[in-house]
Symmetry: C2
Subunit: 385 residues, 2 copies
């Protein structure tokens, strides 16, 4: 017998990578790949991004329902406070920020762990739901503050503190550049953030839930999820599509570029998705957001997308390779002034809201996630038993 | 359809918590709960702890075979170097170590993330196996250095650097106390560390593998695993058994104490295990190690164990509640001079060796671990599709 759990005697074999295995029941959201549709708490995510503020959607995802005006005002106040990190963290940022800005997500992971440590966050199972929620709000709200501060410190600039009068997305842009952003740019980034809060049971969300299931503290859950997001297979390289658009440079060069990529055995970054058979609804949304911003890069991206899809239809017939979230996410973030090396950290700022809800849900569930393994190594030497 | 992975159309329902689900095939080790037996790479773990050095077993677990003298010498040199952290980390430790020593594991998590960040660790899928292994050795080897330094800093003491002539366990004790330890204490701690390197597919090992499967960097994998170990359900409270032994104070009070615990609805800490039906082989080993150290606490622990087992046989008939690893682990660590609040961090120093091997194995596998979820929330409002 090779199971590590005596409550079962027969190990259950499933597809590799737990592919298709239902690891949890969730009321937070769902992705319907065949329909090109996803939602949060029953609300279509695209509609939320088009009609709601980030703070409203954050409250929806975390608490289960859209907030009334009174609750929304209280939540905005909570976020304004949570966005400021304690001086024990703020003052330590220069010491934990590498001056060579290579892997900002690992620097952010360090800062988030420090925040949890300095705030003395307690194990989830020692805390009541209100304390768990407060810890998770503090962590998720602080991510833009930490990302922006570390970005500036790495470049020898003074970090900028959050401003109480601005929303979450506007604050992020203001802390990055040192200037309050144009409202249309803050709104565009806000729509990106809303659209990427949650998306099924991806590896980072699952990591957060596994850690939460041990009863660990909220910071350890978010830190673990950041670690999974740092993987290129998951969230690690969303600037590739924007790099490619610039490399192509003109729509008429797109078809040749696609041929080169495929001939070199490469994939065409920003196209195709494991879940969606149709157009990625996030891509459709963000294309509209990009179009509303306008400008030469947006024009180039839209024209190039069409040529790339044409080329892929010809070269990969029947594969339904459409632009995915990465394609227009990069265009929107770039137009909003987010530096390319911070695209994954910015994605993390949105996804941390989703992780928070999943940590709360998992902590309420109370069952430890602990699969088994099958031993396939050499036979036992000189066994004792 | 609620699957988030279009390669499957039928979600696979499995027991809650993935209980019994084979999440990976591994050649690193196995636990045979019914036989009271576990091994690393086919070598009985108890035999390894009795006859080998930690450095030999570390090489075995990481590389797949026991090292010959030449390789062992080279590995000892590699560890001596890896045990020293760069000055960018060492000098930052005061800034990231809370002065109230409440949650040292979260402070360690911060330090390990910082180490990976300052060393610029690259994604596993960008690194070749030698680079992956070197990164993991640097992380695991540095944990005792970081734990001891943070322990001293939190108490206003100067941190102590590792000494090249000492083994891994002896170095840890020397860095904690500032004095080279008695060899018998270093050997006892070494045996504890060997015995706890790996133990089936626990939540922290699984977390490390999920993160590794995204292609993330080695530090993110170890940091995530530390987060899971911080959960009380997993590795979070190994001092409870030693606390209980001291609270009982005399063997003749053990039976009454057990009755009180059970009457209060509590569990008897240090007794019973999810996997082992027999005596926990780690407990049997560590009882022998404790006995070799001798002293009043050890005598009390042994006599109390017998009385507690007698009481449990009477009060919980048929349950086979034996002392688990927590019981004698606490006794051994305490006798070796490890402060009680560092028991989980010390466990992490051992388990990080096992995590390293699992990260290497998962990175070589290359398949992302990405289960699905089932949406059970409210129906979709005003659907778009």
């Amino acid at each position: 017998m090779t199971t590590t759990d005596a409550r079962r005697t027969d190990p259950i074999e499933v597809p590799r990578g737990l592919n298709g295995v239902v690891a949890a029941h969730t009321a937070i959201g769902d992705v319907r790949g065949e329909e090109g549709f996803y939602h949060y708490r029953g609300h279509p995510a695209v509609e939320l991004a088009e009609t709601r503020s980030l703070e409203e959607v954050w409250a929806l995802v975390l608490d289960g329902g859209l907030p009334d005006p009174t609750r929304l005002a209280a939540f905005r106040d909570e976020l304004a406070s949570a966005r400021r990190v304690p001086s024990s963290v703020w003052d330590a940022l220069p010491a934990i920020t590498p001056r060579e800005p290579g892997r900002p997500l690992l620097a952010l992971t360090t800062a988030v762990a420090l925040l949890g440590s300095q705030l003395g966050m307690r194990p989830l199972y020692d805390a009541d739901p209100a304390e768990r929620r407060a810890d998770l709000v503090r962590l998720a709200a602080a991510i833009p503050t930490l990302v922006a501060a570390q970005h500036r410190i790495a470049r020898g600039l003074e970090p900028v503190e959050p401003v109480d009068g601005l929303g979450h997305a506007a604050n992020y842009l203001a802390m990055l550049s040192g200037e309050p952003p144009e409202p249309r740019l803050a709104r565009a980034l806000e729509q990106y953030l809303i659209a990427t809060i949650d998306h099924g049971f991806n590896a980072s969300t699952f990591t957060a839930r596994v850690i939460a299931s041990t009863g660990s503290d909220a910071a350890s859950c978010i830190v673990g999820a950041l670690g999974a997001l740092a993987g290129p297979r998951h969230g690690g390289a969303p600037s590739r599509a924007l790099d490619a658009i610039e490399q192509i440079g003109a729509p008429e060069r797109a078809a040749a570029w696609v041929r080169e990529q495929l001939a070199a055995g490469g994939r065409v970054m920003g196209f195709g998705h494991a879940v969606y058979r149709t157009e990625d609804p996030r891509s459709r949304l963000l294309k509209g957001v990009a179009r509303s911003l306008g400008g030469p890069t947006v024009e180039l991206a839209i024209a190039t997308e069409e040529r790339i899809e044409d080329a892929l239809r010809e070269l990969k017939p029947g594969r339904e390779l459409h632009a995915n979230v990465e394609y227009y996410a990069g265009v929107v973030m770039g137009e909003c002034g987010v530096p390319r090396e911070l695209f994954t950290c910015t994605f993390a700022a949105a996804r941390a809201i989703g992780w928070s809800a999943h940590v709360l849900e998992q902590a309420a569930d109370g069952k430890m996630i602990r699969p088994s393994s099958r031993y396939v190594g050499p036979p036992v030497h000189s066994p004792e038993v």
